[in-house]
Amino acid sequence: MPWILGFFLWYAIPMAASLWFSFTDYDLVSDEPMQFVGLENWVRLFNDPDVHQSVLVTLKFGAIALPVATLFPMAIAYLLVAKSLRGREGFRALFFMPSIIPFVAAVLIFTGVFNGKIGWVNKILAVFGIDGPQWFFDEFWIYPSLVFIGLWAAGNAILIFIAAMKGVPSDLYAAARIDGAGEWGSFRHITVPFTTPIIFYNLVITLIGIFGYFLVPFVLNNGSGAPNGATQFYALYFFRTGFQFFDMGYAATLAWALFIVAVLTTGALFWSAKYWVHYEFEG
């Protein structure tokens, strides 16, 4: 009963209210009474150049972030379960360590590390004679920089991958070795199939995270979208519309559009799972 009450109070009713707002001209600071405007906000959504720009920015970032956020923890976990790795426990602790640092603090640290003049990255590159870019002020390099910041939260994903890889029966590796399989063959034909449920889980979580990507660009440049709109992510545009321009009716439309796209994409991912996700105890 308390759960049902909480669900209605904090989820169902606010969601229904925001769906209603999306068909109104609800403005937080206007003295005028709220009016029903039909599909006006939804038509505006499809013709809004800022929406097109923010969707493009989110897609560009997602195209780099999604594969990296899946492959990086998987590769690190594979290294960390290697029997030949010396100081394995120490490595595991150190790779997990950054994920306990609050994200806002992490972003502030990265602004120093990636600083074009005094940052360590460019100082190290200069040692090799490379003139490093202005990472956070370059329309191209901003995305790899943001992805690198995101990797600091990969600790949990690494742990889950390690648990999955340790659950693979060692007999399979021994049998593969006897049959002449090398390291790559074992990884491709044994490790990857056994970890597909974790890959799937990670994909879903990362995808939802990309749709709602907000905190890092907001802390980085106060949500201005710099450089030249390259960090004007969809969630950021939604926030500005609702809480800076107080156009709550249109913001509710943006939120619902995001919700619908997220549900459809996640649904498509779940549908595709039956073709490539293998569960260990299936018959």
């Binding site: 690190i76 290294l79 960390l80 290697a82 030949s84 790795l85 010396r86 100081g87 490595f91 150190l94 790779f95 360590m97 950054p98 640092i101 992490a106 640290i109 990265f110 120093g112 590390v113 003049k117 005094i118 940052g119 360590w120 990255v121 100082k123 990797l151 600091w152 006897i178 049959d179 002449g180």
Partner: protein, 125 residues
């Protein structure tokens, strides 16, 4: 079945060389992990080092990566900061600041404090 047994036997015969290879492989895996970890934790190192730097050192473009306390010179029981001062003839000298000023500052030469007392150097601002 026979082929499988043969492969196991071959592996047993060459187990001496295998141990060496495993040892080498162990160092390679550890080395790669260490390199990735170094890059991964670079910002953490930056954070730790920056926390030990003075505000002046953080904003100084030419400051070294590791924190250092500024060089000082003791003059009449007082610790004076040493600066690299451009001289009118175009050379640079390491001088201790005796009296900082908005328009002009007084410096002395730590190598010969008596010779340069009262030297006035006009600052750029």
């Amino acid at each position: 079945m026979t082929a499988t047994v043969d492969r196991v036997e071959v592996e047993k015969v060459t187990s001496g060389g295998g141990t060496k290879r495993r040892l080498r492989g162990g160092w390679v895996v550890t080395g790669i992990s260490g390199l990735v970890l170094f890059v991964f934790l670079l910002p953490l190192g930056y954070m730790a080092v920056t926390s030990l730097k003075s505000e002046q050192m953080i904003s100084d473009l030419e400051a070294p990566i590791l924190p250092q306390s500024s060089a000082t010179f003791e003059y009449e029981g007082e610790q004076l900061d040493i600066y690299t001062v451009p001289m009118p003839d175009g050379t640079e000298r390491e001088l201790a600041m005796l009296q900082p000023g908005r328009q002009t500052s007084k410096f002395i030469d730590p190598a010969d404090p008596s010779a340069y007392v009262g030297l006035r150097y006009e600052s750029r601002t």
